[in-house]
């Protein structure tokens, strides 16, 4: 999983971040198997859709959320050896060459 982490020790399941999230990424669960707690905790249900806007991080009353700002989109991008798609992934940049000879 890529773009953010939630400190479940401090998360008190107040639901504020779920309201804040414009991309509907978070959900509230009380699932011991997922979180290790039997009280309400927030999980990152749809990590691919997080666009790193930080609203949850800024709104969290107990500072439990940390957003890493990593883009995960293909970007048409000109590099020195021709057009390439750059896919930004956590831990590095992966480049895939587009169709030959533009």
């Amino acid at each position: 999983m890529a773009i953010e982490s939630i400190n479940l020790e401090t998360c008190d399941g107040c639901n504020i971040c779920i309201d804040s999230c414009p991309a509907d990424v978070l959900r509230l669960v009380d699932n011991v198997q997922d979180t290790g707690f039997d009280t309400w905790k927030v999980i990152i249900a749809y990590p691919n859709e997080c666009h790193s806007c930080s609203l949850c991080e800024m709104d969290c009353p107990v500072d439990a959320i940390k957003v890493e700002k990593t883009m995960m989109i293909p970007t048409p991008f000109q590099s020195h050896d021709g057009y390439k798609y750059l896919t930004f992934r956590k831990g590095g940049v992966k480049a895939e060459k587009m169709a030959e000879a533009r």
């Binding site: 309201d19 957003v67 700002k69 989109i73 293909p74 048409p76 020195h80 750059l86």
Partner: protein
């Protein structure tokens, strides 16, 4: 859908909770209407107005200055501006901004406590007020609630209901249907008037300020027969993908504090590409210039704020908190290092394109209003304005709210909902949830993203490549029915993808129709701005057979006060020649 549908009634339904939506809802409630204000996320926590908020503040202008500003609007819109709207904006903005100050929106002030104006893209004289959008929109939300507006959040509307049950309608709009994005419960609202404030059209590119606005309003209005204008000026570009890590909002503000665009040799290059506007040029021109510099071997390019004053940088970070967070995360010091800029091109409505509205924000369909960036932004069409959009939404929202409330007061009872139409919408929404299929909504987003961000399509469109893209878009549209959505969240993603794909198809038709190059619209096979034949609008609407009809409208220059000086063909130039750089 496991629950019975939720049924609601109101005089005025406002779909979309940006500044225009809030203003419309508040004005309509003021006029005595019952109002529901909807957002598919939460007001103040989603949409462009949350991430970047500024107002173009032209107070106390003399009549002469108004003429000057109007001329500037019209020229920056390449004479395609709706000049009636220019007059309305210049007349109404002071009062609308006074209201905002009364509502407690705290714009940045100077040390003496006076409102602080900064320059913004597309302004020769600095006339922009800045504020942190989250705080401003939170205030608007609270205020609306206090005034008696009913908030309906986390509900996504997908279709409008019509009095005759037909698409496109010959009657009027009588409500809307949507679903709760968490539970999936269907929501049916009967409304006497509907105001759309659904924002522009963008693909999902993981940039916070543009990811949620995917053209639902455009789609639902188009289907009931509303006219779309300026869809050919939808070549959107952002240059604020910084250090290949983070796509930041606030581009106009970064330009406003005096950022410089430099290439690998440290040379400032924008004056070469846009002698008139330089570093204050449009998003599209800057992005293109960066790509051009890279193609000619002078890349990568940087956004340089090292020479800016510390207090201006502090103000920038305060009003664009997402950028501040990124600076903290990556330890970027804007005073010490320039940020590497990667342009991103896509089909999207940055500055133009959308529903055609009159100066009361009415579309051509009875009972349907549109406010803000989901309209064709008449006064700045194909233009270069930084903070103009939010002021236009502010003014347009107020006017729509007033007119819709008056209209609704004259209607005695709610029109009956056509059951067949409702069943059809229900069927469309439940189809992707019924049966497992391998295709995901994310696949559609990936395909359409790859298609519309393709470089040659973005920069050097000719008829062949537009036709090729159009064929691909139609192929993707055909695949929409093969997608599986296990829950309401995925269903929303499918609905968003459907809106975007269908609107891109219309954009392609508009690209084909306009056989010249103007503003963001570049046709490599027609490399000239044709002021002789093309001072016209391209209008698209849904015909009675539900096929798109493209028509070309003349602008009423006989009654407009700002007239084009010369009507001739001007070769379209951009630094080095377009056709040369194609090779």
């Amino acid at each position: 859908m496991i629950f019975e549908p939720q049924r609601l009634e109101c005089d005025v339904l406002v779909i979309g909770g940006g500044i225009g939506g809030c203003r419309a809802a508040m004005r309509a409630v003021d006029m005595g209407a019952s109002v529901i204000l909807n957002d598919k996320a939460q007001i103040g926590r989603a949409g462009p107005m949350t991430f970047v908020h500024s107002q173009f503040a032209c107070w106390d202008l003399t009549d002469e200055e108004k003429v000057e500003w109007k001329k500037e609007f019209v020229e920056s819109a390449n004479y395609l501006a709706d000049q009636d709207w220019c007059d309305v904006i210049l007349e109404d903005i002071p009062r609308r901004i006074e209201d905002m100050v009364d509502y407690g929106v705290e714009y940045e002030r100077t040390e003496d406590g006076e409102l602080k104006y900064t320059p913004s893209r597309g302004q020769r004289v600095g006339r922009t007020l800045n504020v942190d959008g989250r705080v401003a929109m939170e205030k608007m939300r609270k205020r609306a609630k206090k005034m008696g507006v009913k908030l309906l959040e986390k509900v996504a509307f997908t279709d409008l209901l019509t009095s005759d049950g037909k698409l496109p309608t010959e009657g009027e709009v009588i409500g809307a249907v949507g679903f709760d994005i968490i539970t999936g419960q269907m929501v049916i609202v009967s409304a006497k008037s509907v105001i759309l404030n659904t924002g522009p059209l963008y693909p999902k590119v993981h940039a916070a300020h543009i990811d949620g606005v995917t053209g639902e309003g455009h789609r639902m209005a188009y289907r009931v027969g509303a006219e779309l204008a300026g869809m050919e000026f939808t070549q959107y570009a952002i240059w604020s993908v910084f250090n290949e890590k983070f796509a930041s909002p606030g581009q106009a503000k970064i330009q406003g504090i005096g950022a410089d665009f430099i290439n690998a040799e440290g040379e400032s290059f924008m004056d070469k590409y846009d002698p008139e506007w330089g570093n204050m040029s449009s998003l599209f021109r800057i992005s293109r210039a960066i790509l051009q510099e890279e193609m000619e071997g002078r890349g990568p390019c940087y956004v340089d704020m090292r020479h800016c004053e510390q207090k201006d940088i502090d103000m920038l970070l305060k009003v664009v908190p997402t950028l501040e967070q990124a600076c903290k995360t990556f330890a970027w010091d804007l005073k010490k290092e320039p940020l590497k800029s990667t342009p991103l091109m896509a089909v999207g409505m940055g500055t133009s394109g959308g529903l055609r509205v009159d100066t009361w924000s009415r579309t051509n369909v009875d009972g349907l209003y549109a406010v803000g960036t989901c309209t064709c932004l008449g006064f700045t069409m194909s233009g270069n304005s930084g903070s103009g959009h939010s002021s236009y939404s502010n003014v347009g929202g107020y006017r729509a709210g007033e007119h819709a409330a008056k209209r609704s007061a004259e209607i005695k009872s709610f029109a009956p909902i056509n059951d067949a139409q409702l069943d059809e919408i229900k069927g469309m929404l439940s189809k992707p949830t019924e049966k497992f299929r391998a295709l995901k909504p994310a696949d559609i987003w990936k395909w359409i993203g790859d298609t519309t961000t393709e470089n040659q399509f973005a920069l050097y469109k000719d008829e062949a490549i537009i036709q090729k893209t159009l064929a691909r878009v139609r192929e993707i549209k055909g695949m929409m029915g093969n997608v599986y959505t296990p829950d309401a969240h995925e269903l929303l993603k499918w609905v968003e993808a459907r809106s975007y794909v269908e609107m891109v198809e219309l954009c392609c038709l508009a690209y084909l129709a306009r056989t010249e190059s103007r503003g963001e619209h570049i046709r490599a096979d027609h490399p000239y701005q044709d002021d002789e034949d093309w001072l016209k609008w391209v209008i698209i609407k849904s015909g009675s057979d539900q096929q798109a009809q493209v028509s070309i409208w003349d602008l009423p220059f006989d009654r407009y006060s700002v007239k084009p000086t010369k009507r001739e063909k001007i070769p379209y130039s951009f630094g080095s020649n377009v056709s040369e750089s194609k090779q």
